[in-house]
């Protein structure tokens, strides 16, 4: 389906024709998400390129990137593990789950393993309180997490 926008314009990117909104920067998110999906983060070069496509200043792109917690301009681990610490999750032991990840991966919250495989972060409610404690592994939602499950998740991702 073509994107929905108020005024359309066809442009070329990577040799492909894509439709963007001419009068707005409403396609910015999509371009940022594509860039991040490709490399795991949004580099200065990506921001410059996106700014050129949409004809806005790169600083504006940067200010959007830094506003949202799922956008990052720094290289992180290949897999990002987000542990929800909202109240129902805290009641169900999210703090202990964080500790298990820290011990297993030998890093602290917010850090990336030396091999570049994993980053662990804390996040707000991920809408999985019926299955607390719950986490997000990349895009995947995983509930009822315990020590055994943490070990399985890590070894599973290492084998990939």
């Amino acid at each position: 389906m073509q994107p929905i926008c108020s005024v359309e314009k066809i442009i070329e990117k990577d040799g492909k024709k894509i439709v963007v909104c001419d009068d707005t920067r409403s396609q910015l998110f999509k371009l940022l998400q594509e860039a991040q999906d490709k490399n795991g983060y949004i580099s200065d070069k990506d921001m410059q390129e996106i700014a050129d496509i949409l004809d806005i200043h790169p600083v504006e792109v940067y200010s959007v990137v830094t506003f949202y917690s799922f956008f990052t301009d720094k290289k992180k681990g290949q897999h990002i593990i987000r542990i929800s610490n909202c109240m129902p999750n805290e009641m169900a032991g999210s703090k202990e789950i964080i500790k298990v990840f820290e011990d297993e991966l030998k890093i602290k919250l917010g850090e990336t393993t030396k091999d570049g495989l994993f980053t662990i972060e804390m996040t707000g409610c991920i809408g999985m309180c019926d299955q607390a404690p719950a986490i997000m592994v990349d895009d995947k939602l995983i509930g009822n997490v315990d020590t055994e499950k943490v070990k399985k998740i890590i070894s599973g991702l290492k084998q990939k």
């Binding site: 506003f67 917690s69 956008f71 109240m87 009641m91 707000g124 409610c125 809408g127």
Partner: protein, 402 residues
Amino acid sequence: MSKRQGPVIFSDIEPYAGLKSAVKMGESKIILDLVAKSNLRGRGGAGFPTGLKWKLVFDTQADKKFVICNADEGEPGTFKDRVLLSEYAKLVFEGMAIAGLAIGANAGFMYLRAEYKSLLPLIEKVLTDMRADGALGKNIMGKEGFDFDVEIRLGAGAYICGEETALIESLEGNRGEPRNRPPFPVNTGFEGYPTTVNNVETFAIIPHILTKGAEWFKDIGTEKSSGAKVISVSGDCENKGVYEIPYGTSLNEILKMTGTSSAKAIQVGGASGVCVPKEDFTRKIAFEDLSTGGSIIVLGEKVNLMDMVENFLEFFKEESCGQCTPCREGIPVFLEAVKSIKDEKCTKEYLQDILSLAETMQCSSKCGLGQSVPNAFVSVIEKFKNEYKLSKKIKEEKVFNG
């Protein structure tokens, strides 16, 4: 279809029955009247009458209009939109298309929170199926000129983008900072065009009303709150999950439904909501009593309520957009107050200052986030005097200098 049971969304309905009725009614005015007559109010939290919102968009002259489904569900303790999107997405999109017909919009967005990205393939498949069935796209259900389609846009992890003007900012590719209101989105919304923003659940109710009528809907619930609410129950309770309850259901009944024998308190409405003590479990879920987007967190004896308040405040500190002073500067003061209460260092005078700051924040913050920051704190201070100790010192130990 799933086997869930409930009076409205979870009641039986034929696929596309709502769309077919809407097409039969034909005219915008008839649909708008029906939705208004049903007394349907928004399920996203604020409870604005849906029929009125749509009429305001309809009445605004413009060559384009938009329908937006708010699927940013970020309130701690809610997950009902995740369940609705996983099991009832077709009903939601049907509701959006009916809204499109009613207000005269040809395009809609669903703003889906980044945390639910894994639902995307499933939701996209529903859209593809609906286009194949002639329920989206051009000439919907064979009605000449009834064109409507939906594009899914992913959020990027910001609770504030659930606020409708921040959501529109985000859709336009900006930082999710709430706008001044007025102008309201019904007049000046996405790209300056008249726009209705409604919750996932609100849209899922629409096909039922179109098919079964306003009177059927009004017979469910209370006089002031028509219909039912989908709630998300979590915390110290036996059967966590999603339930659809008629408005007027008491907290006691909810506990019974979920097989929970005892609780010390229930946090209603998530981090923005209030903490209700045991004595008040006769209170009811309804716009006229406990009005909520549906987050019900059951708190057992072991939960420390000051820890809970601190958890909420840390969340708000992280999620405040920082645009206006009362919210940006107020949250850290509340956090400090909670710490001093936990250390038994807070004097009566200091607490009074904090409670008056609460009032200031409730009335002077720009958006609902800042306005609801003090709710949990104030309710715990007022209703749970055994849960904390104030400092015996008469002289103010801390001077509030905000």
